[in-house]
Every structure is written in structure tokens, then in C-alpha cells.
């Protein structure tokens, strides 16, 4: 059953999401987004030559992962706005954890705000942001 606005409360937590960011997945995304000319997204060794810790996940991919998490939870909810801040690099072939928690519920507009974070294995927040989601029912 799809999530209904009336069932959502301030403080509700979205199920944790552990995205697949193996290098081959990141490489596919970079190709689809026409970002594969930049080796920092596709090749660990070449990324390290640039001084990076390894091949990194494009920011728009991280934002997409967080948006997909919100969509997966909210069902028919429509993301009206997603706004992310990139604090640290997300490295391919690592295992980050994405979390979301409802921090505002507005019955007048049937919208909610979800705080979003992506943390790396060292519990460092690499991406944070908010999503505003509107519900029709």
C-alpha cells in the first residue's frame, strides 16, 4: 500500500539505503551522463594520479541515489525540490549508508521535508541535504 500523507509524522525515519556504487556501476552512470571523459569517475589509478583517494561518484549520481531512496519510500509522493550539499568525496567501491528523516510536515500544502545524509564507512557525512515531497492523498 502506498504511503499516505496522513500517516506521516515529524521524526519518521526512512529505511536505511545502502547504494551499489561499485566502480562498474559508477562507470555506467558516468557514460550515461556523458561524464566518462573524466577519468576520475571511471578509473581508480588515474583518479589517484589526480590526487584523489580513488575514482569518485559524480555529485549528480549521489543526488540521484538520495532521490531514489525518497521515491522508494514515498510511493506516489512527488519530489518538488531536492537540495544537496557535497561535503566530501564519495569514493567508488565503498559502502556508504543513506538516511532520511522527516523534519517538517505541512498539512496545508500536503508537503513534507526530509533531511538527507550519505555517510561513508568512517561515519563521515559526505552528502547532506533536504527533499520536499508533495502528496496527493
Amino acid at each position: 500500500m502506498s504511503l499516505r500523507f496522513q500517516d506521516i509524522e515529524l521524526g519518521d525515519e526512512l529505511p536505511e539505503h545502502r547504494p551499489d556504487i561499485r566502480l562498474e556501476i559508477v562507470r555506467e552512470f558516468a557514460g550515461a551522463a556523458r561524464m566518462d571523459a573524466a577519468a576520475r569517475f571511471t578509473d581508480h589509478d588515474k583518479a589517484r594520479e589526480e590526487g584523489l583517494p580513488g575514482a569518485i561518484v559524480p555529485g549528480i549520481m549521489s543526488q540521484g541515489i538520495l532521490a531514489a531512496m525518497v521515491h522508494g519510500w514515498s510511493g506516489d509522493g512527488i519530489i518538488e525540490r531536492i537540495d544537496t550539499v557535497f561535503r566530501a568525496m564519495v569514493v567508488a567501491d565503498t559502502e556508504p549508508i543513506c538516511r532520511g528523516v522527516v523534519t517538517d510536515v505541512d498539512p496545508g500544502t500536503r508537503t513534507i521535508v526530509v533531511d538527507l545524509t550519505m555517510q561513508n564507512e568512517a561515519h563521515e557525512t559526505t552528502v547532506l541535504g533536504t527533499a520536499t515531497v508533495r502528496f496527493s492523498v
Binding site: 515529524l10 521524526g11 550539499v85 523534519t103 533531511d115 568512517a122 563521515e124 547532506l128 533536504t130
Partner: protein, 209 residues
Amino acid sequence: MNLDLHSHSIKSDDGRAKVENYCEWIRKKELPLDGFVLTEHRQFDDESDYRNLEDEYGILILKASEVETDYGHVLIFGVNTDMRHAYDFGAINLSLDHVIEASERCGGMAVPCHPGRPNVGLAAHYHERGPVNSVTIIETRNGGSRAGEDEASIHLAEAYGYRGVGGSDAHLVSQIGKCATRFDTPIRNEADLVAALKNGDFEAVSCQT
């Protein structure tokens, strides 16, 4: 009383939290927090008036600033007109020594924050350039710290005899209150806060779960 001495609202470029939502969150989650201080990046928010929110939620909301110096980021408490003429809050390479001296001369208090953090913290700069004698208080508990950063801050405080405060460094609603400062005396306004900091009647507390 417990105050979160370090938080950001949407007034900061990277802040994503509305002040009213901080209040709602504190009450909904029953956080052990009596108030919080908004420390917007590189500015002092003169225009916002949060007195209605204070009354509605029974939460103290104070205003301060976070500026950027040659020794990292610094929280400025008790901001006033004299202080804002003494140095440029929007600059990114202020002299820490001058910021501390001018803040105190104008009746405020400057507290280096997340000192254990690479690049923007005091410890890294001390390692390269030696200590700044005018520092007396640092932030030893920061809600945004990565592993080892608070430990480095506490070590720095012990090594130099600094007092420690705590703040969440919240940029999202759900981050408020992760760290705070416990005061032995009541704080009602910015002047009380500065006086309590000068008296040393406080300790940093972590509320991380």
C-alpha cells in the same frame, strides 16, 4: 541549562534548516536542550527576530556568528555594532589574534570551533605555526566531527589549558542538539552567555546516540 552553541539556519549558504523547524524538532524529540545559538557563516543576521518562536516553544534562541581566520573557523558570541566595525565578518582570512582581541575589547568572546578538523581547525595550524596566546576557550565537542576530531580537540584543550564548549554545528534540522554546553548559571541573552563564558561556569556535553 544546556545550550547548543553552534548551529546554522537557511541564512547560511550551506544551511538547510528553518529555525522554527529546529524548535519543533527539539520539542518533538524531547531533546535536553534549553536553547541554541545561531552562528551563521561569515555574517551576523541582524534582521531576523525569533522572539515569537522563543515564546511559542519556550526555547532560548540567540544569535552569533562563525568567521574564518588564518587559524581556522571561530565562533563569535556577543556580536555588537562596535565589533562589526572592528573587523570584516565576511572576510575569509582574518587574523585570529585580532579577532579574539577585538571581540573581547568590544564585550564579546571568540571561540575557535572544530579545532581538530583538518584545514579549518586550530590544531592543524598550531602544528605548522605555533599557538596563539589569546585563545582561552575552544569547541571540544562538535556534532559534525569525524572520528578522532573531537579527541584531537580535547587533547589540544588539555595541552594548553583551554576550557571546552560544545555545539552541534547543525546544518539540517535533525542535527540540532547533538552536542551542547551545560551552564551552571541561567542564560537569558547574549550578554549572559558572554559573561558565563568569561566566568568559566560551563562544560561541553555530547548527546550523540
